[in-house]
Every structure is written in C-alpha cells, then in structure tokens.
C-alpha cells in the first residue's frame, strides 16, 4: 500500500529526487557552456558582407552626391507657405527612390543574375544615362567600388577555398568574382574609347554583391537603402533637417515599406524596359550644373 507509506519515507524520497535533478542540471549547464549551444548564433558570412556593404564608411564617395536634391531645392525656392522644407524633402525622397527603382535597380539585378553580361550592361546603362552629371556620379562610385573590391575585399572573398561561401552557391560566387576581375582589366586596358567600359555603379554593385555571397533580395535592399542614406545625408548637410530627424526617417516603417514596394515592382523588370518614371528628375539633375553655388557633385 503505497498510499500508506510513512511520511518521512516520502520526504526522503523527494529530497533525494530533487538533489539528483539539481545534479543533472548543473552537469548539463557545464556541458553546454563548453560547446556553447545555448548562446544565439553569430552573424553568418553573408550577413557579415551585408554589414560591410551597408556601412556608410565604405569608401565609395557617395557623400559627394545628392542625386539631384540640391538642384531640386534650388528649383523649388521659395517654397509656398503651406509646404515645409521637410515635407518637400519627403516628396523628393519618394520620387528619387521610385526613379532609382525603375532606372537602376534592373541593372543591379541583371548584374547579379548574369555577371558575364557586365560589359553590355555597363554600355547600355551608359547609353541610358541622360546627362553628364548623372554619368559622372555613377561612374565615380562604380570605379570606387572596383577599387574597394581590389584593395580590400578581393583577398577575403575571391579565394575559392574560402569556407565563408559554403552556404551560398559556390559557382555563382566565383562567377561574380571573375566578372569583376575581367571588367576591371577591361577598364584598365581601355584608354579613350568612347564606347569602352565605363564602370557604372548599378551593375557593378550587383556583381560585387554576388561575389561576396549576398542573396539577390539583400543586394537590392542594400542598394536602395544606401541610396536613401546618401540622399538623407545630403539633406542633413544641405540644412533641410537635423541628423536625428534623418535617422528617424531612415528607421521609419514608411521608408522600409517604400523600398520593399519599389523592389517588388521592379524585381522582374528586364533592363530593356528600365526607364525614367520621374521626368523632372532628369531636368533637376541635368541643371545642377547651372547652380550658382554648389556643395555636391550631383
């Protein structure tokens, strides 16, 4: 009759079980601390690349370009009383992202998906760039990206034996790296050829991201986010808003949704159908040269 077991016996049994449980727990804790299974995993290799490429310290010189913001402000001066500078800036950011999505994003994705076509993409983007101001900005950043790749990233990412690429498609990553190398050689070998390689930013971004093991969505997202960051940083320096306000916009759900929407809209757009959706933007960027005083290169 277990029910009639004496109370001291039961108490002894419980304390015995408790001590065994405690013992087991402490051994488990000891064992798991050795193989560190309970700590959350560290970022993977592709997130490491993501962090590098989204860093505003990445030396591309993007801070020198306002993508037409400076000219937009000059063309819309003085603002009507009902419109605040920040509201006017919001409009510009929206237009600028839409234009970036429709004009450049297809080239980023095409570069990512088909790195071997890099030279054709570069030529076609050059043909689609309507003015020297935009061309200068795109080429300067593209060539800077090649420079960063050659001097900084190549060592870590081009080595085929690198274990960092285990998770990604190895062959694709290598194709990306090879495409950058070949393009860079072509760029150096070509002197003064009007139709030679130029080094436009968008397709190169796609190929470099591929070579660094990023996935296509990340590539597109960082491209758009970096553009938003550059425009916001220009807005701070053009005294449109303060740095906290700029970070506030950058962190906002609205901006995230806007970027995601643009990426979804132009995810399947072939480069042949890429085009300008905001025609006045071409005018603003082109007329940047006419500004009396300038703090940016575009």
């Amino acid at each position: 009759m277990t029910a009639e077991s004496s109370i001291p016996d039961l108490e002894k049994e419980i304390s015995d079980l408790e001590s065994r449980l405690q013992n087991a727990r402490s051994r488990l804790a000891h064992a798991s601390s050795q193989i560190s299974e309970t700590t959350p995993p560290l970022p993977t290799a592709s997130s490491h690349a993501l962090l590098l490429l989204s860093d505003s310290a990445l030396p591309l010189g993007s801070f020198a370009y306002s993508s037409g913001l400076e000219s937009y402000i000059a063309h819309n001066k003085p603002l009507p009383r009902t419109i605040t500078p920040v509201a006017s800036f919001h409009r510009f950011l929206q237009l600028s992202l839409a234009s970036m999505g429709s004009l450049s994003l297809p080239y980023v994705l095409a570069g990512y998906r088909d790195p071997a076509d890099l030279e054709t993409l570069d030529n076609d983007l050059d043909a689609s760039t309507p003015c020297p101001v935009a061309q200068r900005a795109s080429i300067a950043q593209g060539r800077a990206l090649i420079g960063v790749w050659e001097r900084a990233f190549r060592g870590a990412y081009a080595a085929s034996s690198n274990s960092a690429h285990r998770s990604r498609d190895h062959a694709a990553v290598r194709r990306g790296a090879r495409a950058v190398e070949e393009f860079s050689d072509a760029l150096k070998g070509c002197i003064d050829d009007e139709f030679g390689p130029k080094g436009h930013f968008a397709p190169l971004w796609g190929v470099v991201c591929l070579a660094m093991g990023m996935d296509a969505r990340q590539t597109a997202y960082v491209f758009m986010l970096n553009h938003a960051k550059a425009v916001l940083s220009a807005a701070v320096r053009a005294s449109v808003m303060g740095p906290y306000q700029a970070q506030n916009i950058l962190a906002s759900r609205v901006l995230q949704d806007m970027i995601a929407e643009r990426i979804d809209l132009d995810w399947h757009t072939p480069v042949e159908d890429a085009g300008q959706v905001v025609p006045p933007l071409d005018l603003w960027v082109g007329r940047h040269e006419l500004l009396y005083s300038r703090i940016f290169n575009s």
């Binding site: 309507p130 003015c131 159908d273 085009g275």
Partner: protein, 361 residues
C-alpha cells in the same frame, strides 16, 4: 483559284507600314517601297526644295506624313512602321493631324494589358542620310494606355561627315486641358533607342526578330520614359472613386510642375550646328540662385522676358556627339513656342529640310 495580285504587298497585318527611300542617279530621291494598311495611312510628297546645305551630299528631302484614321489610336490599335533611308537620302516625317490622340481603354472585367494602343517605329538610316522627325506631341486621354517604341539604327562604319543624321522629337502632354484632364491616363510608355549597326539598310531586306540579338549591334542611346499610375500593378480591381477625396494621381505627382514633357535627340553632321546651338544656349543660361553682389545697378537680366525662362530644359552632349535635349513646360503652347522659336532662330533645319519640316511647331 483566285489570282494573287502582284501588287498586293506582303504586309498583311493591320497598322503595318513600310517605306524605303532610295536615291536614283544622279540624285533623284525615289520611294522604292510604300505600303500601309488600316488604321495607318502614309502620304508622301516631294516639294522640290533644294537644301542650302554646307554638306555636299545633301539631296532633295522627301516628306512623309504619318496619319491614322480619326487622328488617334484606339485601344488595341497597333501601328508598326518601318522606314529605310538608303545612303544620302533625306526624309522629313510630320504628323499633319495635330497631336496623336490616345483614346481611353474601357474599364471592363476582361481588360488586359494588351488592350493598350501601341506604336512601333523602326528607322534605318544609311550613310550620309538624314531623318528629321518633328511630330506633334502625343496626347493621352483619361484612362488610356499607350506604348511607343522608336528604334533608329545608324551606320556604325561611317565616320565624321559621312555619318547618318537624325533629329527626333518625342513629347507628351497632360491630355485635354480644356476637359480638365491633367495626367489622368493609366500608362504612357515611350522608348527611343539609337543603335549602331554595320549595315543598317542592307539587313532590312530580311526583317528578322533574331537580328536584334546580333552582336554587331551596339546601343548608342536609350531614352525611356514610363508614366504609369501603378494602379493595375497593385490591385486588379478598378480604383474605388471617392468623390470627396479624388484619388491623387501618381503620374501628376511625378510630372509636377510640368504639363508637357519632351525630349529632342540630335545626332550626326546635318544637325551638328543645331546641337552646338542647344548646348551653348543651355550652358549660357543664367545661374540659378545667382546674386548680384555689385552695390550699384540692380539686376537687369531679371526683367528681360525670355522664352528660356518659361521652359525648364537641359541640353547635354552624351555619347558619340549625340545631343539630348530634355524639356518640361507648363503647357503645350509654351513648349511649342519655345521649341519653334529656338529651331527657327538657329535656322539649320529650315535650310536643310525647308520650312515645312517645322510644320508641327
């Protein structure tokens, strides 16, 4: 068995047209092919104008009038014109019916994107040949959908003064202003491309879809404009109309403050002086935000009324000496007056092609 007419063209599809302009010795322009099918109509005329040109190759320009029944395009209408300019010929293309009206696409449950109107123009320009294409703007009506693809192929083997020349104007207005339309259409897509190919006029005898993939072709310039309200992309249902809050037009937001948007593309030796004229005019525009620091006289330049002050434009030399002029203006009349005034002031189009080439301006 019906006798097959020897005159019947090989063109069977509605809206297709084909023009081949050649030069018979010594220098007589002649249309060796001219076919078209409803709803497209092509008329030609040789006014006997003798170009006062500095270029020795200048031949008498032939005029081609691009017409459609009713002066516009209905949903589903497809215009497909292919034009070949053999070496040393000159062609002027105009639209004597006024702006190309793009009629609205009915909102019906079975509506698909293929219901849009479409115009394809493929021009191949040989050595020393010149095209002057200054049409009226396209006027998309409320709820219309339209796509236009204009491809110009020039001879890549020609150098300097023997290059092909072209002048292309492409402009779009906000719609019928008198009826309150203000960028109220669904889609207007326009794409202008200049390709370089080794022998553009020779390959035209065997039109082949695959020819676009030939490695010998190289893209020289692409100018694509997409005005899309993006409604159809987000939802397949027609937009619910709230009378209290009329839906904000995305296209209007993106084209603001302009009521007309346009591009003028200039390429080749015939338009060289005009190209330089535009670039000089642009670079000599008064600086934006300039201040008069001198303590004496007030700025006199501000009081002088000028065409350029009403039109926002840029002119830039892009690739291979190609000049791209982009402009935006408050309304069609302003843009037309400005463009007409600039082209007449410079005068080379009137000298090379005759005053009639500026019919639409």
């Amino acid at each position: 068995m019906p006798i097959i007419s020897p005159f019947e063209s090989s063109i069977a599809k509605a809206g297709e047209g084909k023009v081949v302009l050649s030069l018979l010795p010594p220098a007589i322009p002649s249309l060796s092919t001219l076919t078209y099918k409803y709803p497209l109509k092509l008329l030609t005329r040789t006014p006997g104008f003798v170009p006062q040109s500095a270029l020795t190759s200048a031949s008498t320009p032939v005029h081609l009038y691009l017409l459609t029944y009713g002066g516009g395009l209905l949903p589903g209408d497809q215009i497909d014109v292919s034009i070949t300019l053999e070496p040393q010929t000159r062609l002027v293309v105009t639209t004597p019916q006024g702006s190309t009206k793009i009629f609205k696409t009915e909102t019906s449950p079975g509506r698909t994107l293929s219901d849009k109107s479409r115009q394809v123009l493929d021009v191949r320009i040989g050595k020393e040949a010149a095209l002057c294409y200054l049409p009226d703007p396209s006027a998309p009506f409320k709820n219309s959908r339209y796509e236009q693809i204009q491809t110009f192929t020039v001879d890549s083997t020609a150098k300097d003064s023997t290059r092909s020349s072209l002048c292309v104007l492409d402009w779009v207005t906000q719609g019928r202003v008198s009826r309150g339309e203000n960028w109220d259409f669904h889609v207007w897509k326009g794409k202008n491309e200049i390709w370089m190919a080794d022998e553009p006029t020779a390959s035209s005898t065997t039109p082949n879809e695959d020819s676009t993939q030939k490695p010998k072709r190289k893209l020289l310039l692409r100018d694509a404009l997409i005005l899309n309200d993006e409604v159809a992309i987000k939802t397949n249902e027609p937009e619910p109309q709230d009378p209290a809050h009329p839906s904000k037009s995305l296209i209007r937001e993106r084209t603001s403050p302009h009521g007309v948007i346009g591009t003028l593309i200039l390429y080749g030796p015939v338009f060289e002086s005009l190209s330089s004229f535009f670039v000089d005019r642009f670079t000599s525009l008064p600086r934006i935000g300039a201040r008069n620091w001198s303590s004496s006289a007030p700025a006199a330049s501000e009081s002088t009324p000028h065409y350029d002050s009403k039109v926002t434009f840029t002119a830039a030399r892009v690739r291979a000496g190609c000049v791209l002029v982009k402009f935006g203006a408050e309304d069609f009349e302003t843009a037309k007056d400005w463009l007409g005034a600039v082209l007449r002031e410079e005068g080379s189009i009137a000298r090379e092609f005759g005053e009639e080439a500026l019919l639409c301006l």
